[in-house]
């Protein structure tokens, strides 16, 4: 089980930030290792491919992403599921973004919870939690850059 929670302050109002969150191409740029992403059903379902390297091992998963909860402009929850056929790794992720106004713009709370089933999940147990933390931190940094530009 992977659980990562991060708070980050972003120099943009919740409304502006909210607009970015739905701008799929710009959002894709913020998610490290997220390559192709396309909208299947506007504001509802997307497809994306997540690629991450854990040392010599490359995880490359086609994800089906569904937006399970929306409360504009304060928050939304994404559920993603997919399988890397080569590694035999089933990935399931849920990411909740909470957006609240703050004196410098808005404060974003990122709550990610996920699981990698199969050999990678078992053998990589301790390593993957730390990797997920790095990915979420990088996501926060890219989000801030994307908004504040």
């Amino acid at each position: 089980m992977i659980r990562v929670t991060r708070d980050l302050d972003v120099g943009a109002t919740p409304e502006d930030l909210w607009a970015l969150l739905w701008d799929v191409p710009r959002m894709v740029g913020c998610v490290p290792g997220c390559v192709e992403a396309r909208e299947v059903e506007p504001n509802r379902r997307y497809e994306a491919r997540l690629t991450q390297r854990v040392g010599p091992i490359t995880l490359s998963v086609p994800l089906e992403v569904t937006v399970s909860k929306v409360a504009a402009p304060s928050g939304l929850t994404l559920e993603a599921k997919g399988r890397d056929r080569l590694l035999g790794a089933n990935v399931s992720l849920s990411v909740t973004l909470g957006v609240a106004p703050s004196d410098t713009g808005s404060r974003v709370r990122v709550e990610a919870e996920g699981r990698i089933l199969g050999k990678l999940g078992a053998l990589g147990h301790g390593v993957i939690q730390r990797k997920a933390e790095e990915v979420i931190d990088e996501f926060g940094a890219r989000l801030r850059r994307a908004v504040e530009r």
């Binding site: 035999g88 089933n90 399931s92 089933l117 199969g118 999940g121 078992a122 147990h125």
Partner: protein
């Protein structure tokens, strides 16, 4: 009938009959067998602990070159694709739902392993994950998701045909036993203790994983070579599944690379048989160690015990409520919860008893038989609490135990076998061996624990002894050789009774088309039950020889005696070959003796009276690195009341192996699940004992009063030694530090957390359960 005069072969540490082939590498195990045209099988297993099977696409796998068969549940319309000794709840391949991570979904047989793996890569399965129950708490919570919905078919054990599930829950069987005034007895108790102890999920780790090779013949008969401990139970299972008479199914068992209970009852045999049928050729399904972690494990447990003592220390009442986590399929767990709970009162005299246990499904690897069969899980609780009671009553723990021990010949439970050993002799021997009355060195402490276990009953063992024309003999028994040395013991017994050299006795490997019925090689029962059948069969032959000689010499058989492969009377001496020659009028022919030991059903609570009580007592002396929490067992003494060692050195080897396997779940081993998935299904993440873990001082002591029901007064040994290890070490830890841990294994981190908790809140209860820290 035992041969008169001193024993020649029984009681001596003769060389194992299979020693030469094992040290030279000639010994053949299932994984070594090959047959012309044999295909190799691999399984696709569920990655989810619980999910609905939406789609299983195998077309591309079937088309892959070199593939002989690809099976899904949909392809099994020609057989009854369910098995299980107690409940036939286990599908050959998942039908609509998968019930644990590792549940087989697709089976492939191909020209070689590489092709089978390539074919599995081409299979596509869509799952819809469902909420799973991973712990006893989750599985027993009201409204918890049900691992099994609907009525399973009953298995093939008559005593379990009345399985008592609790409808609408994950409880698939319950066991109850009470005597005296039950819980009413606590009214007389001056001291009542109540506590809950848990036992982890642990793995047998037979070094040879499970395996089976199946082949159908032209007439529709089935032969299965299997690494199994009970070929006849596998035969009964396959007969039902494939609609065949038992006579058309042959189960042949080579040497096993270990079993420890993990290879009892059908495991891979049904799937190998189904694959062989579809592939139209022999198929070998050989598990890896990782597969074994997803085939069977010990039932884990949560055991609540109440002990009531009179002021003088006498036990007056025992209550036990045990929940056993049996995993996704029942396997033989319904019997485990009965056997383990039945002797919750251990070797003690207790007038008022009320016992209840549940077999609870969870979405994990199925729990089955494992050395001790439920008793280690209960004794870990009871023997820990006996020490707490001794402390509260201001009594010496050994003395408190001695006071409560049943006497030789006393009734354990109405209808069951009276106690068949001098328990106080075992207790004084273990106290002496661990030097209980000498104060331990600084930084060390000692702990003791005792156990008494019933063997499986009712049960049936048959043996055939064939005396050949040259005076050599073949012993036909279905006892499986899995390292415990049973074949050597059977040879010794036959050689003793027939009075022929051991080297002229051959024990025929188990094969249900050749060797007669035996229920199982488990429960420490073979020496006693099968040994007696061999003794009787050999005696049957000797009886025939005496009759032949008597007729020839014109003297009553009673005036004749057996002596070194000959019948002697007065001055005359007739060698066996000569006697057979006389009997058959030519050189040839053989005498066949038969032995059947089948005590049958009795009034005993478990349906049959135990053939013997396995009694074992352990003493541990430990030191502790308080800063890291690491426990070292500096010395261990194991005492077993064996009646008589047929082969002393092999009894020692069995006892030492049992203690070290017990040390595994006491200090090191735990199958770690997280998010429904098993994290350590391999030997890098699952730590079994190594040579460096053996206590510096280790004494194996045998009490031999020839008071057993087995041949020459023998009883069973082999499971007992494992059971007292965890309570003995737990008691030593408590005496050293005052810390009482209720969870196993006692890993350094767990002990460290308990020491820290006590430092931070010295006034609080001596131990805290705390959450489940990492192992």
């Amino acid at each position: 009938m035992s041969a008169p005069g001193p024993l020649r072969v029984v009681g001596r540490s003769v060389r194992r009959t299979d020693a030469l082939e094992k040290v030279t590498g000639r010994a053949r195990y299932l994984s070594d067998l090959e047959f012309p045209g044999m295909a190799h099988a691999r399984l696709l297993r569920s990655p989810y602990p619980r999910a609905r099977l939406l789609r299983v696409e195998v077309a591309r796998a079937r088309a892959h070159p070199g593939v002989h068969a690809v099976l899904t549940a949909a392809d099994l319309t020609w057989c009854e694709p369910f098995y299980g000794p107690a409940l036939r709840d286990r599908p050959l391949l998942a039908t609509d739902v998968v019930r644990y991570e590792g549940d087989p979904v697709v089976a492939v047989a191909a020209v070689d392993e590489a092709t089978a793996v390539e074919a599995l890569d081409l299979v596509e399965v869509d799952y819809e994950e469902l909420p799973a129950v991973m712990t006893l708490e989750e599985a027993l919570a009201p409204g918890a998701p049900l691992v099994h919905a609907g009525e399973p078919l009953a298995g093939h054990f008559s005593d379990l045909s009345t399985l008592r599930a609790r409808p609408g829950t994950n409880v698939c069987h319950q066991f109850d036993y009470a005597r005296g005034r039950g819980a009413g007895g606590f009214a007389e108790a001056a001291l009542t203790l109540e506590d809950t102890y848990t036992f982890p999920r642990v793995q047998h780790y037979s070094m040879e994983p499970h395996g089976a090779i199946a082949a159908w013949d032209a007439e529709g008969g089935l032969t299965v070579w299997a690494s199994t401990q009970n070929p006849f139970s596998v035969r009964a299972e396959l007969a039902k599944m494939f609609g065949l008479p038992a006579s058309r199914i042959r189960i042949a068992v080579p040497l096993l690379g270990g079993g420890f209970g993990g290879k009892t009852y059908a495991k891979l045999e049904p799937l190998a048989a189904a694959l062989a049928r579809v592939a139209g050729r022999p198929v070998r399904l050989q598990a890896s160690v990782e597969d074994a972690f997803r085939t069977v494990r010990r039932c884990s447990s949560r055991v609540r015990v109440r002990l009531g003592f009179r002021r003088d220390g006498g036990l007056v009442a025992v209550q036990c409520d045990a929940d056993f986590d049996v995993g996704a399929y029942a396997d033989i767990a319904p019997r485990v919860i009965q056997k383990g709970t039945y002797t919750a009162t251990g070797p003690y005299r207790v007038p008022n008893v009320v016992l209840h246990s549940n077999a609870v499904y969870t979405n994990t690897t199925p729990g089955g038989a494992f050395r001790g069969f439920g008793v280690p899980q209960i004794v870990w609780a009871v023997e820990s609490m006996m020490d707490i009671a001794a402390e509260r009553l201001g009594r010496d723990p050994v003395d408190l135990r001695r006071q409560n021990l049943l006497a030789h010949g006393e009734e354990f439970a109405r209808g069951d076998t009276p106690v068949d050993g001098k328990l106080e002799e075992s207790l004084s021997r273990v106290a002496e061996a661990i030097r209980w009355h000498q104060a331990p060195a600084a930084g060390r402490a000692k702990g003791v624990a005792v156990m008494m276990k019933a063997s499986v009953a009712p049960s049936v063992s048959e043996a055939i002894v064939r005396l050949h024309a040259d005076g050599s003999a073949s012993v036909l028994v279905s006892t499986v050789e899995m390292g415990q040395g049973a074949r050597t013991v059977m040879a010794q017994i036959a050689a003793e009774v027939l009075a022929i050299p051991l080297a002229r006795v051959t024990v025929v490997p188990p094969d249900t088309s050749i060797t007669p019925y035996d229920q199982t090689t488990s429960s420490s029962r073979s020496t006693t039950m099968v040994g007696r059948a061999v003794q009787d069969a050999a005696a049957d032959v000797v009886g025939q020889l005496l009759k032949i000689a008597a007729a020839h010499l014109g003297v009553p058989a009673g005036a004749l005696a057996v002596d070194d492969a000959a019948i002697v009377g007065g001055q005359r001496r007739l060698g066996y070959p000569e006697l057979l020659d006389l009997h058959f009028g030519m050189r040839g022919g053989e005498l066949i003796g038969r032995g059947v030991v089948a005590p049958g059903r009795t009034q005993a609570p478990l349906g049959g009276s135990t053939p013997f009580w396995e009694v074992a007592m352990g003493g541990a002396e430990i030191s502790l690195d308080e800063e890291t929490g690491a426990i070292v067992v500096e010395a261990y003494a194991s005492v077993a009341d064996v009646g008589r060692c047929i082969n002393p050195q092999q009894c020692e080897a069995q006892d030492e192996g049992a203690v070290m396997q017990g040390l595994g779940h006491t200090l090191l081993e735990e199958m770690v699940y997280e998010g429904g998935v098993l994290l350590n299904a391999n030997l890098v993440g699952y730590r079994v004992p190594r040579a460096e873990d053996v206590p510096a001082r280790f004494d194996s002591v045998f009490v031999e009063n020839a008071d057993g029901a087995g041949p020459f007064g023998a009883k069973g040994v082999g499971e007992g030694g494992l059971v007292p290890v965890s309570p003995a070490v737990g008691n030593a830890l408590a005496r050293l530090t005052g810390i009482r841990l209720r969870e196993l294994p006692l890993t350094p981190e767990r002990v460290w957390r308990a020491l820290r908790a006590r430092r931070e809140a010295p006034s609080a209860a001596p131990t805290t359960r705390g959450d489940r820290p990492h192992v």
